[in-house]
Each structure stands twice: as structure tokens, then as C-alpha cells.
């Protein structure tokens, strides 16, 4: 079945540094979604990308969908302690389901 691999698994950064997580697939993706899960919390939907080469921004977060629609990235500029959490990508698998990447756990050191 379809799989999405996410790297890195963990990332520690100093506050103010940038952070990027990558989501990769061996097959073409119809869409890619990104979620954030704060420690102890539940995943929260951030954004969905559907078009080849699409780039969307939310304040300090930049989301990109690859030209071949096989990869995606989430980039955070100048991280803050509020960015701590695990970031998951997800994509449609079949008509009703989404499969999730393994997640990247971000720690921000003040």
C-alpha cells in the first residue's frame, strides 16, 4: 500500500533557528496535508496542498508540494518555543482514508 516517509524523526533547534521537515513518497500523491500535535494534545490540521509545485504560507510556516507530487516540505522560519510538537504529513489513501507519515518531533531550546 501507499506509504509516506517523513524525515527527520527528531530535530532539536535553538530558538530563532529555522526548521524543515520532509515527507516523501515513491508514488504520486493526490494531495498532502500537514498536522501539528502539541505534546499531550491531539493532531490539528494545518493545511492541504493539491497542486504540483504549490507553495502556501501561514505566518512563519511555509508548505511546499513537489513538482512531481511525490514529496512535500514544511519549513518554519525563526522557530519559537510555541512551535514545539510533532509535525505529521498525511495523504489520501483510497476514497475515504488518509495515511500519516511517521512524524517529526521538534524541540525548541530557549
Amino acid at each position: 500500500g501507499q506509504q509516506v516517509m517523513q524525515i527527520p524523526q527528531y530535530q532539536h533547534v535553538q530558538e530563532g533557528e529555522d526548521f524543515t521537515t520532509y515527507c516523501n513518497s515513491s508514488t504520486t500523491l493526490s494531495n498532502i496535508q500537514w498536522y501539528k500535535q502539541r505534546p499531550g494534545g491531539h493532531p490539528v490540521f494545518l493545511i492541504q496542498l493539491v497542486k504540483s509545485g504549490e507553495v502556501k504560507k501561514q505566518k512563519r510556516l511555509t508548505f511546499q508540494f513537489g513538482e512531481a507530487k511525490k514529496n512535500s516540505s514544511l519549513h518554519i522560519t525563526a522557530t519559537q518555543t510555541t512551535d514545539v510538537g510533532t509535525y505529521f504529513c498525511a495523504t489520501t489513501s483510497g476514497t475515504y482514508k488518509y495515511i500519516f507519515g511517521t512524524g517529526t518531533r521538534l524541540k525548541v531550546l530557549a
Partner: protein
Amino acid sequence: SQTIHQWPATLVQPVGSPLSLECTVEGTSNPNLYWYRQAAGRGLQLLFYSVGIGQISSEVPQNLSASRPQDRQFILSSKKLLLSDSGFYLCAWSVSGYGYTFGSGTRLTVV
């Protein structure tokens, strides 16, 4: 606005005891409903999903079952819990396949 309610927030149950977790959605009709499990520090494993009343699709054969007795109600059950059933159980809904809205989750510890 749409909201999703999930309870209880935490649960400690002995091995061999039954389980019933309930999830309800407000503010939407005919949602697709999902149960996920997350082991500590791990990713999200899809357990069951439902696209309508009485329709249940199982993703992972195991010690759990799900039911959808009403349009906006989704129940996760077990007759006899195992230690390996411990985890963070998340209910989610989606409409028209545009992203999930997750409930706040239930942390289940089987002792």
C-alpha cells in the same frame, strides 16, 4: 460550527475488562468518522472508519470493534482488554475528504 466530543480523557482499566469509548460530532451531517490509536511517541494507526450508519471498515484485525449506531456517534469497544491495547485513542471526522478534525483523545492504560 462543527465540534467533536470524545470521552473520557483518561482511563485506567485492568487486563480482561471491557472497554467502551464514545465519540460524537455536532454541527455536521453524514460525516466520515475514524478511530486512530497512537502508541507513546509514535505515529497514528488507523483502526476503523465509517462512512455511514452501521457501516464499519476495519483496518487492523485485533481485539477491538467499532459501531456507529447514529449518524454522529462512533463507539470503540473491546470485550477483553489486553496490555497491548494501551495507547492514545483519537476519534476524527471529515466531510468531503478535506482533512481531519480530531477529538481531544482518550489515554488508555491497561494494567
